[in-house]
Symmetry: C2
């Protein structure tokens, strides 16, 4: 049998401890699967004394993860520190430069420095694996990087943030407000004390930027993503969506268009009968559309210590199965040096259906004025629903429009026009509709 | 750059022609992804003259696939001949023995001879890849063999036959009978002239047997699978399922139980709100439950020239990324010689919920007799629905029972008892209920 693969784990939070535990508990099985032993020989974290529920005494302790990254004791450096700068970045860089394979769950680091790190890995002939960085336990990186060889991706989209999907699921199931839901999610540990990063779409954008690169062979462009969060989604939207046969999900979508690549994160209406509409709670899902394979959908746990650890272990096992001299496929599917610049499609040229909810004064001529603004912008309507606003009787009405395919520019112009007409009593709500099988 | 990978394709039907076309059309992209050229250097089929829509003149023609398998012109032998004996088996065996990597889409061959072939591949240090053999374009083999390293699978189940799912989907959507649906499926090319192999579950069983081996590290046991087809599913079942919040799917299920491993293929009720219930038409889906990752679901095209070709290309690309001396993981996840014997769980000990539809004489005491038979077998009922049989007014009634978890043995005994009581006017219908997320 080949020599044991020696693993160093930097960061011993929930995921790190879980990785160490699985490598110990499943040692015999992993040896059978990989053809060699996989052992934890080094660990690094902030507090050596903390009890992490797993005996790490046989591993060498490092206060400094950079030192561990360069140490002779390891073949693989597992980065579970987090953050896009500081020790995470410097230790991953040091490990790659020292010729160590790297496994990381750090989406923020990859979104910001992924291409530069991939160039080092490819130059050094080592692996940089990051299955856990996107959609937790779902093997979407392996699928896009390996299984879809030869496929040209046309669109990739998904539910990539468990916190948002948990909130939207409960809002629909229980009829409670966004704020009430968020508070409960925080109480239960599904949302951070400062939830902005999740709620406003930044976390989804980081993950999406990695999928975009894998899908289209472009350099990662995480700062060039159109982003809307879920904090302005109301019960009125969720109910109206349900009545129209849709469900609201926060999606990250990357799509090739004539003018470039769209990367967008926003609340989205998907058909209730679609597979992705049944993805509830903290579960994640990714759909990938290609020219050869067609549409593939993967769903599963997007977070949690064990699910994330499972992806990390899969990455480590792939390294264990490789042997010195083996050259794996490139980090982002194509050699990092050959990744093309990201050519952004303008959001205003986005084509699709739209849901528009307007709260208007209940007076003669309002409806005609709205219809005229739509027609003036060549927007054809699939359905129009008008009803009294609950509890406010005759003074206001809600008008809900669903458009056929049109453009973002046309919708913005029409809604601006309606707003200027002075008929609205509240901010207009616009939610994009996404085709989904 | 490394030397080109030389591919020989045996069998040039829809899939084979599609593989050749993609390898040509995506040559530059595949080279970028694999770090070397991938070229078709040899082909073999029955009729050299047939136009297959792709120029194969640069590849050497072999009338005999076994000769091609042993030829010096190829590094990879792609078997798309089909059949579990004859040229498919002899050429795959010859290729492995000659030290060629093999890619096959042949589920029947693997179900019957997979372990023996894996032993040769592992002895020779070559790859035997078979992503296309199960669930077409869905990367379930890669997921189970690589991504789930270290996970212990508790259950794997899926919609593995597109023909059956197409028929069940149309029966529900259009309210038409099984026979009418099958005829239409045959007319449209979704079902064979002799549909038995699909309809009665044999095709699903072949695929399931491969997943079982990957899941539990056991030797493939395709002939030891409990099997019921969909030909006796009626509109009454589909409507009753819908009323109760279920949808009927033909599932293959492999599950670890206390007494062994259950392998079963049968019509199954899954909750309408589950993800797998939304998998319509010819689409396939596989759900995998493990101790670490949790539940993962993959859905996508289960058949068709292009989708199958996509899986074959992925397998070829994995080989192209490997280099001489590289030792990949074992064919069925664990070394073939270490696969454990399959210990079958008896079907009568299967535990789960049951749907039971009885057509009975409408007379006093029938209901009490049914209830007594259930109680005598310790079966607790979740719901009971009784209504008149359409158009036959007072003479007959339908009784639908949904049980809480019980055993197959108890249900069979109870239903046998009810049959003996003489109250039934038609064959009883029993459909198992499967938990699904």
């Amino acid at each position: 049998m080949a020599e044991a693969l020696r693993v160093g784990i930097a960061g011993l939070g929930t995921v790190g401890a879980s990785v160490a535990r699985v490598l110990r508990d499943k040692a015999a099985e992993l040896t059978r699967q990989c053809g060699r032993d996989v052992i934890v020989t080094a660990v690094s974290a902030r507090d050596q004394k903390r009890d992490r529920g797993v005996d790490l005494s046989s591993a060498k302790w490092f206060d400094d993860p950079v030192k561990m990254a360069q140490a002779a004791e390891i073949d693989v450096f597992v980065e579970l520190i987090g953050g896009d700068e500081g020790p995470a970045r410097s230790s991953v860089k040091a490990a790659l430069e020292a010729g160590r394979h790297v496994v990381t769950a750090n989406k923020a680091l990859l979104a910001k420095h992924g291409v530069a790190l991939a160039e080092i890995a490819e130059k050094k002939g080592v692996l940089l694996n990051y299955e856990a960085a996107v959609a937790g336990g779902i093997p979407v990186i392996k699928t896009m990087r390996e299984a879809m060889a030869g496929n040209s991706v046309t669109r990739v989209f998904g539910i990539l943030n468990g916190t948002c999907n948990y909130i939207l699921t409960r809002m629909e199931a229980e009829g409670i407000s966004f704020d009430a839901c968020l508070k409960d999610a925080q109480r239960l540990g599904y949302a951070e004390a400062d939830p902005t990063f999740d709620i406003e779409g930044q976390d989804t954008a980081h993950k999406l930027s990695i999928l975009t690169s894998l899908a289209f062979g472009t350099r990662i462009a995480a700062n060039d993503i159109y982003m809307e969060g879920i904090s302005n989604i109301t019960q009125a939207d969720i109910r109206a969506a349900g009545d129209l046969g849709y469900r609201i999900k926060l999606l990250g979508v990357a799509q090739r268009t004539e003018s470039g690549i769209e990367q967008r994160v926003h609340p989205t209406m998907v058909p209730t009968a679609s597979v992705i509409a049944q993805v509830h709670g903290v579960t994640n899902a990714v759909a990938i559309e290609t020219d050869i394979l067609g549409e593939l959908l993967l769903s599963g746990p997007g977070a949690g210590g064990n699910a994330t650890a499972s992806a990390v272990i899969g990455d480590i096992a792939d390294i264990a199965k490789s042997r010195p001299g083996f050259q794996h496929g490139p980090v982002f599917g194509r050699p990092a040096k050959e990744l093309k610049p990201y050519k952004k499609a303008q959001m205003r040229s986005h084509a699709g259906g739209y849901f528009i909810r307007l709260t208007v004064h209940d007076r003669i001529g309002v409806f005609a004025a709205i219809a005229k603004r739509m027609a003036d912008n060549d927007i054809s309507l699939e359905s129009i629903v008008q009803h009294a606003v609950n509890g406010e009787a005759a003074a206001q009405k809600t008008v809900i429009l669903v458009t056929h395919e049109t453009t973002e520019a046309a919708v913005r112009k029409a809604v601006d026009g309606i707003t200027k007409d002075g008929h609205l009593t509240d901010k207009p709500q616009v939610i994009r509709i996404e085709r989904a099988g």
